[in-house]
């Protein structure tokens, strides 16, 4: 687990005159946030294990503009989008995978009108397809029988109707999957979307992430599974504020699979 991992960039591929199977869009959280970086690395390890020919943009990647768009800064969003699309189109990217539902939603739904047309996948959907193609094996390992609940990210679930891929992967981990009262279409936000991640919440009687963590705790999970770096942070903070970090872990689905493989 200790040695640095090999992460090829698009520029390197280009220099060799080759094209990767898929571009891994890391996202700002995945690049800079300490917690999310672990997910990024776990996912990269899985890609390598499954022999996926992938590349990242590295220093050529920039924020998709999601927080700007949702905060109302359409200018900044479009500037970001146009710049990113120029880079992506320059490399003739066809397929994009990302571990961030916000990047996923933006590139998939909001880039096409601006000239960016790609096949975009959330990492759980991509991992599931690897599984189905027999390139990746997922089995329980240390997660076998653990009580786990999945928190639906708004921008993956309600916004794009992806509910089953992460759940299918968790089932493959042979866990005991329990659903919160508010799940899937009716899932509740972790509180980070729409730019809220970057500001103090408006006055109220509770923070959204605490309320959501309480809902998760109602089903008494050992692990809260996440599929979004924003959710991951919010739920982790929620669990901490309840002094439950010894009893409840918050983990990305990709991390769990990598851990089960002892990667």
């Amino acid at each position: 687990m200790a040695e640095a991992i090999k992460v090829p960039t698009m520029a390197e591929y280009m220099a060799e005159g080759k094209k990767p199977e898929v571009l891994f869009w890391v996202g700002c959280m995945g690049s800079f946030d300490d917690r999310a970086k672990k997910v990024t690395k776990a996912f990269v390890k899985l890609l390598s294990e499954a022999n996926v020919d992938f590349a990242v943009l590295g220093t050529e990647e920039s924020c998709t503009g999601d927080p700007a768009k949702r905060a109302g800064n359409e200018f900044l969003f479009q500037m970001q989008a146009v710049t990113n699309i120029e880079v992506l189109n320059g490399y003739e990217i066809k397929k994009v995978v990302t571990a961030c539902p916000h990047c996923f939603n933006t590139i998939k739904n909001e880039y096409p009108v601006l000239g960016g047309n790609y096949e975009v996948m959330h990492h759980t959907t991509f991992l599931k397809s690897l599984l189905e193609e027999g390139r990746l094996k997922v089995e329980g390992g240390k997660f076998k029988g653990k009580r786990i609940t999945f928190h639906d990210p708004c921008y993956l679930g309600r916004a794009n109707n992806v509910y089953e891929a992460p759940r299918d992967l968790l089932r493959k981990l042979e866990v005991e999957l329990v659903e919160m009262k508010k799940c899937k279409k009716n899932g509740m936000c972790c509180g980070a979307g729409g730019g809220q991640m970057f500001k103090e919440p408006e006055p109220g009687n509770k923070d959204v992430n605490i309320a959501r963590t309480e809902q998760a705790m109602e089903v008494k999970p050992e692990i809260i599974a996440a599929g979004c770096p924003f959710c991951n942070t919010m739920m982790t903070d929620g669990v901490k504020s309840k002094d439950q970090e010894k009893n409840i872990e918050v983990m990305d689905v990709a991390e769990m699979i990598a851990n089960a493989h002892d990667l």
Partner: protein
Amino acid sequence: MQFLAQILFVIALVAGVGLFIRNIRRIIRNIKLGRPVDRKDNPGERFAMMARIAFGQSKMVKRPLSGFLHIIVYLGFIIINIEVLEIIIDGIFGTHRVMGAAGPPYNFLIGAFEILAFLVLVGVIVFWTRRNISNIYRFLGNELKGWPKNDANYILYFEMVLMTLFLVMNATDYQLQLKEAPYYFRETGIIGSFPISQFLSPIFEDLSISTLIVIERAAWWLHILGILFFLNYLYYSKHLHILLAFPNVYFAKLTPQGQFNNLQSVTDEVKLMMDPEADPYAAPADAEEEEMPAKFGASDVMDLNQVQLLNAYTCTECGRCTSECPANRTGKKLSPRKIMMDTRDRLEDVGAIINKKGKFEDDGKQLLDDYILREELWACTTCNACVEACPVGIDPLSIILDMRRYLVMEESAAPNELAIAMTNIENNGAPWPYNQMDRLNWADEK
């Protein structure tokens, strides 16, 4: 005498329907104050959605009790309209139970109406209890104090009265037929069947034929006048949804919920900015570009699009959106229902100015600040729970977003931390002050 009743009836009918048409035209005029928006694509899919969500009430049953009761009241409403048709024919031509000639099918129909009327009565009483006695979160919101609460109750009382009148009318009619009163009695036997009102009927047993006729006629008249009144009350009420739910669902957004619309005016400017060939100081190519640049986002109802304004008129104030809203549930000021109610209130105020002055004149007010507060707008996580929850396909989030756009792009009035995050995105390609050149550092970190 006979003709007098018919003439009065026609006058009432024409006045009632005429007023209703005027109201509808005002609504259409007000909605047209909004910006045009193209929702003519995919008619097949749109019809299917309307059939499922508006006609089939598929989203209502997400909450089983209120969904079930609502379906009863809804069915009762639709079916009893057939009865109204007969009342209108009878009223104009001075006939009595003209459709009775149909025989057994007619009897079956009247029997079915009675049972529905009774179920509606029960449903409405449960609704009243839930709204006024049970502590249900979505009925406790601040925005429901005053008129909205009264409005909801008036409708319930109204339906109780209308249903009761219908049953009384039938009960006395039944008695009149039993007593072989002229004009009510027919040789062929009893017209109609009275599974519910037969139980009311004994109350009227000892009354004379003339008293019975007075009661029957009074119930008949009040019933139809009540319906005409109700028709015109709609305009002032959240009950407008019984008409607008259909077009509203039809014109709802079909694209994924996470896909926010794209501002073409911004695209044009961004293109200009990004084009290295473009000379920023060049004079506009033609006169068209010299026009006032479009306002970005929305600060008043005229800046919203027509579907958003239709949404505002359609909102039933049920609060399903608000009770799913994470911001509202954690005590923040934001309530998506209030966003819709404020939009309608403002639109009505604008409409009232137009009614009075013939055109809109600035009244020193706007939707932003005078109705919807910035604090409400900034509390939204854009999670789409409100959109998902709305049983009639309303999108409160799109209004919140358009108003944020105004705040950010016209006023540069984003909350400070957000403004910093945006500057960071602009300068560093990430919401934090990290260097873009460090974006791949994670790969080398142990």
